[in-house]
Symmetry: C2
Subunit: 101 residues, 2 copies
Amino acid sequence: MYGLVGRMTAVAGQRDALVAILLDGTDGMPGCHSYVVALDPGDPDTIWITEVWDGPESHRASLALPSVQAAIARARPLIRGMEQVAETTPVGGHGLVDVSA
Amino acid sequence: MYGLVGRMTAVAGQRDALVAILLDGTDGMPGCHSYVVALDPGDPDTIWITEVWDGPESHRASLALPSVQAAIARARPLIRGMEQVAETTPVGGHGLVDVSA
């Protein structure tokens, strides 16, 4: 598996709008075991995104999906910055959706 | 919801043993929507743990569960350090187990 921990910074005042796009545009992505969007309670502009994919190829391929492309186009003007905090190799746990089907 | 992103460092050579304890002792915790254990591919001693709970109370309560207490006792000698990278407020996504039942 392939995991990402990312920190996104929204343009001031646009975090809620950006979160709505992230939640809407990233549903049902092939190979995606987990995709969690979270607010940073200590910073009004910061969003944490934690992802688990079956491999880096699925993550890369997701960026070309029409639904994700549309979400990126809508989200771009609301994003001030994006930092990849960690790239990981998930080995198990709880809440990993079965994507073998 | 209540989320945590943590980075744990194992005693040298003990990461696999520590991961096995984490995966074994943390199954079926009440109020836990997601608990993912991941290796850091760039550091042989580092583990990333990302958690989503229905609230901080469930997370705190989990630490008192007999299964978790037993896991902590077994894990402690294998842990060199633990850093809380982020405390978050998850708002949605994919892979969040329903704990309302």
